[in-house]
């Protein structure tokens, strides 16, 4: 997570690395058996824009806004979602 601040702007990020209020566009979902399928079935598909809304009080799970819907998922699941690189 720290590398982000070390000036590597072009490095692509994963959904679990977003901070509250940050947005991103999905590049791909790691093909990972049934979990990947479930994520895609919930609408986490390529090209979709999403926003990290907040973390649960204990830091996990996280809440993201996707097509106007609020979706909660664990960090371990969000790690499967790769985002397009975006200069901040």
């Amino acid at each position: 997570m720290k590398e982000e601040y070390n000036g590597i702007m072009s490095r692509s990020r994963r959904l679990d690395e977003l901070r509250a209020g940050q947005r991103g566009r999905i590049k791909s979902v790691s093909p990972c058996g049934s979990l990947g399928q479930r994520l895609m079935a919930m609408g986490l598909v390529e090209g979709e824009e999403l926003e990290m809304i907040r973390l649960a009080p204990s830091g996990d799970p996280i809440e993201v806004l996707l097509r106007g819907c609020r979706l909660a998922l664990r960090r371990s699941e969000a790690r499967m979602v790769n985002l397009e690189a975006e200069g901040e």
């Binding site: 791909s28 979902v29 093909p31 979990l35 990947g36 399928q37 479930r38 994520l39 895609m40 079935a41 919930m42 609408g43 598909v45 390529e46 090209g47 979709e48 809304i53 907040r54 973390l55 649960a56 009080p57 204990s58 830091g59 996990d60 799970p61 809440e63 097509r67 106007g68 819907c69 609020r70 979706l71 909660a72 998922l73 664990r74 699941e77």
Partner: protein, 429 residues
């Protein structure tokens, strides 16, 4: 990109097309109230205190609202029993109607007000959209304990009554998580067990230490629930943990009609299956406690009944723990409903509830050590016939309730034995 990604992508592209053509939205202008509420309800520091407050209100609501109805049902059935006993001249029939039927129905129906109250509270939480938030708040903690966020509310309901707790697991989408929650929720000490703890702890520890003793029994229950959840996760329900993926719906004002319908749908299931099971058990216990008819004087002397004989036969099982045959009988009765244990001692010793505690100590039935072991046993062994009925219903099997019956009874013996053994080692009587 693999095929499933392409499929999912084209499906959502199509959805987007349709939405763009048909839906107009004025979003972005004002903040929705869901956003505003979540800002408080899911707040980093306030979220959990607010959640615990809601839980407390839910219990207050369920029990305060239902209390007068429970009292009415209890009094109505004892009244009906009294009338039947006076009006029916044939003594077998009078006893069957009064104690077997009305006594049994009373024992079943007295649970209905608090159970329906909890179901109503649960329906309101669910319809408002808050239930999903509760799972979101508690997931981290619960998944460390071998459960998941969705199991928290059912487990909490268990402190009121295990039957609605087990039925509340219906909202869980993962089958393994749901089974584990069902199997461990009976360790959560329900309100029916409290009168037993109060009686025994008050008698053997005195008012100064009774509270600590009762509290530690609750703590043992929670510890056992966690330990067995972790154990089940490693043995019976192995495999990768299930994903949490959950939509947090917009908040909605609960609708009275749909909340009541939900309550009724859940409550009716309880009435149906669990009701027949408890009622059947009550009739069997009635039969065993009044026969042989001549020896018991028509149910006056329980000490001469088949039930007492059964207690004597079971005594070798419980005497290593320092208990006598009456305790065996009380535990058998306790299968109906745990608070029945208190009434059973009343009948067996022929004293009112007020002086019951003193008699238990002065007659040497319990020492502090054997009393505490008994409290642990009451905590752990099968909660009641209604809970077994609910497990049977929810798992749609006979094998799971049978498993729970055997597992929990064995564990009850093991833990009580451990308490007695360790206590004696430390020099307690």
């Amino acid at each position: 990109m693999d095929i499933s990604a392409i499929l999912a992508k084209s499906r959502y592209d199509r959805i987007k097309d349709i939405v763009d053509q048909t839906v107009t939205s004025d979003k972005g202008a004002v903040k929705t109230y869901t956003e505003m509420l979540d800002r408080a309800f899911l707040h980093r520091y306030l979220g959990i205190p607010i959640f615990l407050t809601f839980l407390w209100v839910m219990f207050q609501f369920a029990f305060t609202v239902s209390e007068p109805f429970a009292v009415m049902i209890e009094e109505a059935f004892s009244l009906l029993g009294g009338v039947a006993e006076q009006r029916i001249s044939q003594p077998h029939l009078a006893s069957f109607i009064a104690q077997g039927v009305f006594g049994g129905l009373g024992a079943v129906l007295v649970f209905i007000p608090p159970i329906f109250g909890l179901f109503l509270a649960l329906s309101i939480l669910e319809d408002s959209g808050y239930l999903a938030r509760a799972a979101f708040l508690m997931d981290r903690l619960m998944s460390r304990l071998g459960l998941c966020g969705h199991s928290f509310i059912p487990m909490m309901i268990g402190f009121g009554c295990n039957v609605p707790a087990i039925m509340a697991t219906r909202s869980m989408n993962d089958e393994r998580d749901r089974m584990i929650t069902i199997l461990v929720s009976p360790f959560i000490s329900c309100s029916a067990r409290l009168p037993v703890y109060v009686l025994i702890a008050g008698a053997v520890f005195g008012p100064a230490y009774a509270g600590t003793a009762v509290f530690s029994v609750y703590a043992i229950g929670i510890a056992l629930a966690i330990l067995s959840a972790l154990a089940f996760r490693k043995t019976l329900f192995r495999g990768e943990t299930s994903p949490f993926l959950l939509e947090l719906p917009e908040y909605a004002m609960p609708n009275a009609r749909s909340a009541l319908l939900h309550m009724w749908a859940r409550g009716r299931a309880f009435l149906h299956r669990a009701g027949t099971l408890i009622f059947g058990t009550t009739v069997i216990v009635w039969f065993l406690s009044v026969n042989p008819w001549e020896a018991t004087g028509g149910g006056q002397l329980v000490a001469e009944s088949y039930l007492a004989q059964l207690g004597h036969a079971m005594q070798p099982l419980v005497s290593p723990l320092g208990w006598d045959w009456m305790t065996a009988v009380a535990l058998l009765f306790g299968l109906l409903a745990k608070e029945v244990v208190v009434g059973t001692y009343g009948v067996l010793l022929g004293t009112g509830e007020a002086t019951l505690g003193e008699s238990l100590v002065s007659l040497g039935i319990f020492t502090p050590l054997s009393g505490f072991a008994f409290m642990c046993f009451v905590l752990i062994y099968v909660p009641c016939a209604a809970t077994l009925g609910a497990i049977s219903r929810e798992t749609n099997s006979i094998r799971w309730p049978a498993f729970v019956l055997v597992f929990q009874t064995a564990l009850a013996f093991a833990v009580s034995g451990l308490v007695v053994g360790a206590g004696r080692l430390l020099g307690f009587a």
